[in-house]
């Protein structure tokens, strides 16, 4: 797990339109040069928001990436909930869920 590398490429994608276009055209080429595992490449390539959330990607970074992927707000929240249902609590970082994810508004 190279969470640093995952967050670094997401940070770059979120703010760099050229990299966004490259990622859309050829995700694997865009990811070349970043320290990522094959599993992480799959999460990024497939837009697995739930997996990325559970593994500790900062929420602001992930929220921007979800918007880039075109996820509508409820879809984005549901994707995180699906990750929680599958794996349990977020593994690290500031964005752990509280009260089992209750109290939200969609």
């Amino acid at each position: 797990m190279s969470l640093y590398g995952v967050q670094k490429i997401l940070y770059r994608i979120n703010r760099d339109r050229e990299l966004q276009d490259q990622f859309k055209a050829d995700a694997d080429a865009a990811m070349a040069g970043f320290p990522l595992t094959d599993e992480e490449r799959g999460w990024l390539r497939d837009g697995e928001i739930g997996e990325l959330y559970i593994h500790g990607v900062n929420g602001q970074i992930l929220m921007h990436f979800a918007a880039f992927l075109g996820l509508e707000w409820n879809e984005y929240i549901d994707a995180m909930k699906d990750g929680l249902a599958q794996h349990g609590q977020v593994k690290g970082g500031l964005y752990k869920v509280v009260d089992g994810g209750s109290g939200g508004a969609v």
């Binding site: 640093y4 940070y11 964005y95």
Partner: protein, 272 residues
């Protein structure tokens, strides 16, 4: 000349991006308060607006994360987010490189701020500007505080940063407005988005209105995370405004709006 205006407001992306999902009465009240803030700021006739905001990884990452950064670029752009998602079109924002450089130089007398001649704005600055400078015709000096990637700057240093901004604004011949945008309690970008600790928020704003330096600086990050969520770390921006203005605050609007993820807040503070 001087600091001529000090205010605070929320910046949650839902305020624009999910505007149609909120209670219309609450949304209209918030929008009216933001417009009132715009009119008050314009009446102070500022030459430039310093926005004290929270960094959300729009400009900096953990390869080099400044506690404080001030923009002194010619021009900025935003939002970095999908414009349809935020419901704010992509645009250019005029900077104030000369004023910014002088502000940075003076701030550095007491606070080792980073500076940047390039800057991309996310919702943290774009949402306030959408209401406060809707024609994007006011020179903007972004000033971000790292509220996302621990270790975070201590609250007493955020206070010192606000004091440095004040001293710098008073040292330049131009008229400077400052608006802080952040917190208060919220659990953004999680399934808890919409959870709000209204009692905590009202207590915090009471401390802010009284400009009680000791009380505003008393929170530990552990307490804030527990009681106000990771979004609560953004009180650093409001605290910095209190330090810069020095007077008593007046909250013009404060209502929890869960679909916007936060107690939406608009206020001003006397400059003394």
């Amino acid at each position: 000349m001087a600091l001529v205006f000090a205010g605070i407001c929320s910046h949650a992306p839902g305020i624009t991006g999910r505007a149609d999902r909120a209670d219309p009465e609450l949304k209209d009240g918030l929008y009216a308060a933001m417009d009132r803030l715009r009119l008050a700021m314009e009446a102070s006739k500022p030459d430039a607006l310093i926005v004290i905001a929270a960094e959300h990884f729009a400009n900096f990452f953990m390869d080099n994360m400044p506690a404080y950064a001030i923009g002194m670029g010619e021009e900025y752009e935003g939002p970095i987010e999908d414009p349809d998602w935020l419901n704010i079109p992509h645009t250019k924002i005029p900077g104030a490189p000369d004023i910014g450089k002088r502000i940075v130089s003076e701030v550095m007398q007491t606070v080792d701020t980073a500076y940047a001649e390039e800057w991309k704005m996310d919702h943290g600055i774009m949402v306030p500007l959408h209401f406060l400078t809707p024609r994007y015709d006011m020179k903007v000096i972004p000033a971000n505080i790292n509220c996302q990637g621990p270790p975070l700057t201590p609250l007493h240093r955020a206070w010192a940063f606000g004091e440095a901004i004040r001293r710098a604004a008073d040292a330049v011949p131009e008229r400077i407005a400052v608006v802080g945008t952040g917190g208060i309690s919220h659990w953004p970008a999680t399934p808890n988005s919409g959870k709000i600790n209204e009692a905590w928020d009202r207590d915090y704003l009471d401390r802010w209105t009284r400009n009680d330096r000791e009380a505003l600086s008393a929170y530990t990050d552990e307490e804030t995370l527990r009681d106000a969520g990771q979004g609560g770390f953004e009180i650093r921006t409001f605290n910095a405004v209190a330090a810069a203005a020095g007077g008593q605050g007046d909250i013009w609007y404060m209502q929890p709006i869960p679909i916007f993820a936060v107690s939406c807040t608009v206020g001003v503070m006397d400059i003394v």
